[in-house]
Every structure is written in structure tokens, then in C-alpha cells.
């Protein structure tokens, strides 16, 4: 069950970014200004999909009251937030 929810979530993320990539690439070839914005949105959606799926995982584990996996997923989220927010400043 949990696998299916996360699986479909990833699929939606992938389809949204693919949509932006296709139009971004076509507009780049046609040399339209909007292309760069579309490509960047596609990339941001792609990058945030795995991060959001970890958070969705936490929500599911909370609903299932799976204590050990609530702890595990929280640790992963802590690492992810650290890497995304503090690492670029530290380096």
C-alpha cells in the first residue's frame, strides 16, 4: 500500500518535470526567452520530488503509528534539510 502511494507520487513528479522539459527544450530550439524559466521549473520539480517523497513517507508512517520508522524518517529529513539549507553556507 505504502509502496503504491509513493510510487504514484514519484510518477506524478516525473511527469510534471518531463512536461516542463519538453516545452523548455522546444522553446530553446526556437530561441524563445521563456525557455530558461521552463527548464528551471522542470529541474526544481525534479530535485524536490525525492525530498517530498521522504516527507510523504513520514506522514504515512505517522498514520500507521510505526514508531521506529517515524524516528528513521525524521533522521533522514533532518539530514536532508541540513544538506539543503546549511551545507551551501558552510562550504
Amino acid at each position: 500500500m505504502i509502496e503504491k502511494i509513493i510510487g504514484y507520487f514519484l510518477r506524478i513528479g516525473v511527469l510534471i518535470s518531463a512536461f516542463f522539459f519538453v516545452f523548455g527544450i522546444i522553446f530553446s530550439i526556437l530561441d524563445l526567452n521563456i525557455s530558461n524559466l521552463l527548464l528551471r521549473i522542470g529541474l526544481l520539480v525534479l530535485i524536490s520530488t525525492p525530498i517530498l517523497r521522504v516527507m510523504l513517507g513520514l506522514a504515512i508512517f505517522v498514520l500507521e503509528k510505526d514508531k521506529i520508522y517515524i524516528l528513521i524518517t525524521s533522521l533522514v529529513i533532518f539530514n536532508l534539510l541540513f544538506a539543503l539549507l546549511f551545507l551551501p553556507i558552510l562550504i
Partner: protein, 313 residues
């Protein structure tokens, strides 16, 4: 320009197929192609490979989760150390490269890859791993599941053991990917296949599921450094998404034996590549980039062929 974009998409498809079959990010295909054939600067090639890794992961894991090949709990539980390792790897990267110490990691990584070839080769004889008794970690972390193997034609039940050992290897995989931007997929498959004793298809599918998170960990740094060139990485990512879709259907048509032969050749390729890079870094040998990739490819192909003909029944 349109020809180059189509070429990048095609190479992305190839990298996506290989990546989704073997649980790798595809940097192994993309980086040499972009730097050698298209003369892309190494940092933009690395940025595209990072994006391609996320695309491979999300693209194939979406199919693998729905088909029950990837195990959500096993993947999730091992992401603690792999993300921690990736953070430490990127923190020490500046220190390592400023002092020209990267050869230590090249040689260490190469050593691990070569030593992992033997146990991986031994498993060529059996389509599924010999069952080990479940240990305490199996129970505590619920490391079990089942999937339908189309090639064998029946439901396969499995469970994972030696969670701590797998966590340790994942930590090292994280450091390598934070440091060098590559290689974490191969090590992840080893941790799942060798340490946890999972069926190979479950290992590569679960590795695929995991590499996206490891790559996302590094993405903020790459993005802030400006290493992610939008058109280049989007074209590669689009190709990879198509490729990973093909690969995730193809895996059910292949036997574990065939998959393992391809995986072994990747281990041989990466092992040789890292060995040569290490030797170049300490100035023991002088080789151009084209040449050390060529040597690694020839070595990997020969190695795969020898294995195939010796073990084929």
C-alpha cells in the same frame, strides 16, 4: 544545436536503461560522453549527471514501487547513513582536493570494487540468494517483502539480514558520492545484494529508489555553484526518464544471471577506472582521459565475456 540536443537525449536514454536495470545513477555513461565527445567542462558534466541520477531514480522507482520490486522500508532505513555520508563527503571535499589527497579515495574505492567482484561472481550460479536465518535487525526494522518475478514465473519471498553492515557500506557510499559525485549506486547495490542478502532485482530496484535522495542532498550545493546548466541537464534528464521507463519494463524479462553479468562488468569498469585515476593522481602513470576510459571499457568488456562463457550452462 538541435542535433546535439537529440544526441544528449539519446545518450540519456541509454544511461537511463542501464541505470534502472542496475540501480546506478548513470554518471558512468554520461560523464565520459559529455566530457570526451562534447567537450563539456567537468563541473557541468557532473551537474548533469547529478540531475540524471535523480531522474533515473524517480523514473524507475515509481515503476519499481508499484511493481513491488523496490522495498520502501529497507530503502528508507538505509538512507540515514547514506545522506549523513553524503554531507560529510561534501564537507571534506574542499579539504581533500586542496591537499591533492583524492588519490586515497580513488584507490580505496577501487580496492573495494575489486574485492567485491569475488563474492558477486560466486552468486552467478544461483538465480536467488541462499536464504540466511533472519537476525534481530530483520525483525526490528521489518526488512522483508515479496515480489513477482516474471522470468522465474512465481512469487518470491525475501528478507534482509545484517542491517548494520549495510548501514556501514551505505555510509561509505554516501561519502564517495558527496566527494566524487559518482559511484554510490554500485556500492548501494553491493550493500543490498551482498550484506543484506536480498534478491538481485530487489537490490537494484531499491538502490534506484535510494539514489535520488542521495543526489538531492548534493543538489543544493551544485545549484548554488552554478554547475547545473539548464538546457544540458534537462536534455539529459528527459532522455534518462524515457530510458528508465524502458529499463523498468526490461528488468522483468532478464534473469538475475544476465543482470549480474552486466553488474560485474560495471564493477570491473569502475574498479579499473578508479585504479587508473588514483595512479595518475600520484603521478605513477601518465594517461590521457580518453585512454583511461578506453582501457577501463576494454577491461570491463573482456571481463564480462570471460564470466559469461565460463558460467553459462
Amino acid at each position: 544545436m538541435i542535433e546535439i540536443i537529440i544526441l544528449i537525449i539519446l545518450v540519456g536514454i541509454l544511461s537511463g536503461i542501464l541505470g534502472s536495470l542496475l540501480g546506478l545513477g548513470g554518471a558512468i555513461v554520461l560523464i565520459p560522453f559529455l566530457t570526451i565527445f562534447l567537450n563539456v567542462h567537468a563541473k557541468y558534466a557532473a551537474g548533469s549527471a547529478l540531475i540524471a541520477t535523480i531522474a533515473t531514480s524517480s523514473g524507475s522507482a515509481s515503476a519499481y514501487l508499484i511493481d513491488r520490486l523496490a522495498n520502501f522500508r529497507i530503502g528508507m532505513s538505509l538512507e540515514i547513513t547514506t545522506t549523513a555520508g553524503a554531507i560529510i563527503g561534501s564537507l571534506i571535499a574542499g579539504f581533500i582536493f586542496a591537499r591533492n589527497l583524492e588519490w586515497i579515495f580513488y584507490l580505496l574505492f577501487s580496492f573495494i570494487l575489486f574485492t567485491s567482484i569475488l563474492p558477486t561472481e560466486r552468486k552467478l550460479d544461483s538465480e536467488l540468494p541462499t536464504l540466511r536465518n533472519p537476525d534481530r535487525s530483520t525483525k526490528i526494522f521489518k526488512l522483508e517483502g515479496s515480489y513477482f518475478d516474471e522470468k522465474i514465473g512465481k512469487e518470491i519471498k525475501y528478507y534482509g539480514v545484517r542491517w548494520w553492515l549495510a548501514e556501514f557500506i551505505m555510509f561509505f557510499a554516501g561519502i564517495i558520492s558527496g566527494l566524487l559525485g559518482i559511484g554510490s549506486g554500485a556500492l548501494k547495490v553491493l550493500a543490498l545484494d551482498w550484506a543484506m542478502n536480498l534478491p538481485l532485482k530487489v537490490s537494484t530496484a531499491t538502490s534506484n529508489f535510494m539514489i535520488g535522495v542521495t543526489a538531492s542532498t548534493g543538489s543544493a550545493i551544485y545549484w548554488s555553484f552554478g554547475y547545473i546548466e539548464p538546457l544540458l541537464s534537462s536534455s539529459a534528464a528527459l532522455g534518462v526518464l524515457i530510458g528508465s521507463f524502458i529499463g523498468s519494463k526490461l528488468i522483468q524479462k532478464l534473469s538475475s544471471f544476465e543482470l549480474r553479468i552486466i553488474f560485474l562488468s560495471i564493477l570491473a569498469f569502475l574498479g579499473m577506472n578508479m585504479l587508473l585515476r588514483g595512479l595518475i593522481a600520484i603521478k605513477m602513470i601518465v594517461l590521457s582521459k580518453e585512454l583511461y576510459y578506453l582501457i577501463s571499457i576494454i577491461f570491463a568488456v573482456l571481463f564480462a565475456m570471460i564470466n559469461y562463457f565460463i558460467k553459462k550452462k
